[in-house]
């Protein structure tokens, strides 16, 4: 029997004994896509809790299966088949005379990988939390003006170009100093490469404000490498704030979680830096604005005061004058009041006086009148009529009252007037009075 005959026997037996397919849990240790479109893998199983292997097998995904399986798996898990990944695969067992034992993968269940990834992520997160380091990078103050920037990226990556373009062409004219520290940004090599780059940043001795970790955008890429415990622990201990823009649009990685600040894309990372400076520019504008307003306000106040001063002075004077006037008026009114009192008194006194005067005058007049009347009466008493009535008589000669006997001739007709009539008589004789 030749070796070929033996191998054919094994193959035939295997095919007869194990005709169907099996769902198998395994870890990918190698994964290569052939230009023919087939995908070749190596699957392994490690001993429980150890790194040493207890099983290993080659596996193949034929191009006809791979062309559908690859995008579906990526879409659901956010990762490509890659070393370190745990998978649940539907396999057929095969044996080839020349190439030996291998598995043909018909399908892979992405939910198993997702579950495994999630579980491992949770484990790492819990561990970082337990170690008390998970938020340590966030404790660095975000730089006020982050201008000196260390970039960890793959130089050829579109993401790096996007980042640089965004940063350089910013609309504000802010200038940044950038230094690139190249690193492998995907696959199993990435964590170690990124750690090395982070070390180089420190070793450069340049005064960086921030370290940006970016990876090319475009297709949904492998995030697995950023869930690496060693890398993430290192990141928490890093002496500069980290800004990640790892180009994912679904779940974020643990590196995103521990970084100081995490945005989705390299472009967004650049925008974040620009926004920080723009915020400062706004702060300056605000300060300048307030300063200007305050100066204007103070000057306006000053001007107003100066403008108001004459008016104020005038109104002050006017006020004073008014007050003075008021006082004068009050005083004069008081004076008037007082004067009126005096006047009134005087008037009253006058009135009284005049009354008394009048009264006195009246009395005097009355007395006078009385006297007059008396006088009149007494005078009247001496009137011829009154005399006649009293018994006296009046002798008239030739119309004249006789006062003497001398000129009267004898035989003269004389008229003797009495009260009730007159006597006409002829003078017979006259006798002169002799004493």
């Amino acid at each position: 029997m030749t070796l070929q005959e033996l191998n054919q026997l094994v193959r035939n037996n295997l095919r007869q004994q194990m005709p169907g397919t099996y769902w198998v849990q395994a870890e990918i240790s190698e994964c290569k896509e052939h230009f023919s479109g087939h995908c070749y893998l190596e699957l392994i199983q490690k001993k429980e809790g150890q790194d040493s292997l207890c099983a290993k097998a080659r596996a193949t995904i034929w191009a006809s299966v791979w062309q559908n399986l690859k995008p579906a798996f990526l879409r659901q898990t956010g990762t490509n088949l890659s070393p370190g990944l745990q998978i649940l695969a539907e396999v057929a067992v095969d044996f080839h005379e020349l190439y030996g034992f291998s598995l043909v993968i018909k399908d892979i269940d992405p939910t198993y990988t997702l579950g495994d990834q999630a579980r491992r992520r949770q484990e790492i997160l819990k561990r970082l939390e337990k170690e008390g380091v998970i938020d340590q990078n966030k404790e660095w103050p975000w730089p006020v003006i982050p201008r000196r920037i260390a970039i960890i990226s793959s130089p050829a990556a579109a993401g790096y170009q996007d980042f640089m373009r965004q940063l350089t062409d910013n609309e504000y004219g802010f200038s940044f100093y950038t230094a690139l520290f190249p690193a492998t940004m995907q696959g199993g090599e990435a964590p170690r490469s990124i750690i090395q780059a982070l070390d180089s940043v420190i070793d450069s001795g340049l005064p960086f404000d921030v370290v940006v970790i970016i990876r090319g955008g475009g297709a949904v890429a492998d995030l697995q490498c950023f869930d690496d415990y060693a890398l993430c622990f290192y990141a928490t201990q890093y002496p500069l704030p980290l800004l990640t823009g790892l180009g994912h649009d679904k779940d974020s990685s643990i590196l995103d979680r521990v970084a100081h600040t995490s945005v989705k894309t390299p472009t967004a990372a650049a925008e974040h830096l620009i926004a920080t400076l723009a915020q400062q520019a706004m702060r300056m504008d605000d300060l300048a604005d307030r300063l200007q307003r305050r100066v204007r306000q103070v000057l306006d106040n000053q001007r107003l005061t100066m403008q108001r001063l004459p008016g104020q002075l005038a109104s002050l004077v006017q006020q004073q004058l008014m007050q003075a006037n008021l006082k004068v008026e009050r005083q004069s009114s008081a004076l008037r009041q007082a004067t009126r009192g005096v006047l009134l008194e005087e008037q009253q006194r006058n009135t009284l006086l005049s009354t008394r005067l009048t009264m006195k005058a009246n009395t005097l007049m009355e007395q006078e009148q009385l006297r007059w009347r008396l006088l009149e009466q007494s005078i009247l008493g001496f009137s011829p009529e009154a005399m006649l009535k009293k018994g006296f008589s009046l002798t008239v000669f030739q119309g004249k009252a006789l006062r003497s006997i001398e000129e009267l001739p004898v035989d003269a007709l004389i008229e003797t007037r009495l009260a009730d009539g007159c006597l006409i008589s002829k003078l017979q004789s006259k006798q002169t009075n002799h004493e």
């Binding site: 006020v144 003006i145 201008r147 000196r148 130089p155 504000y172 004219g173 802010f174 200038s175 100093y177 950038t178 230094a179 690139l180 520290f181 190249p182 450069s204 340049l206 400076l277 400062q280 520019a281 702060r283 300056m284 300060l287 300048a288 307030r290 300063l291 305050r294 100066v295 103070v298 000057l299 106040n301 000053q302």
Partner: protein, 68 residues
């Protein structure tokens, strides 16, 4: 004039202090013009710090960058 240059944050802080003092008190105009002059100078310095490019620093940084 060997004043040690203020950092960006120090300068901004000083501007804010000047402004706060001006807004709080009724300043004397002469004093105010001095303070405002100082604040404007500081603001200009700060603004400069966002846009100026020191070619020496730039070159030192860029020696890390890939050629081309």
């Amino acid at each position: 004039m060997s004043e040690s240059p203020l950092t960006y944050s120090q300068a901004m802080q000083e501007v804010e202090q000047i402004l706060a003092a001006l807004e709080k008190n009724n300043p004397d105009v002469d004093l105010m013009s001095q303070q405002v002059k100082r604040a404007v100078e500081l603001l200009q310095q700060c603004r400069q710090k966002l846009v100026e490019t020191d070619e020496t620093i730039k070159q030192v940084f860029e020696q890390f960058n890939p050629q081309g």
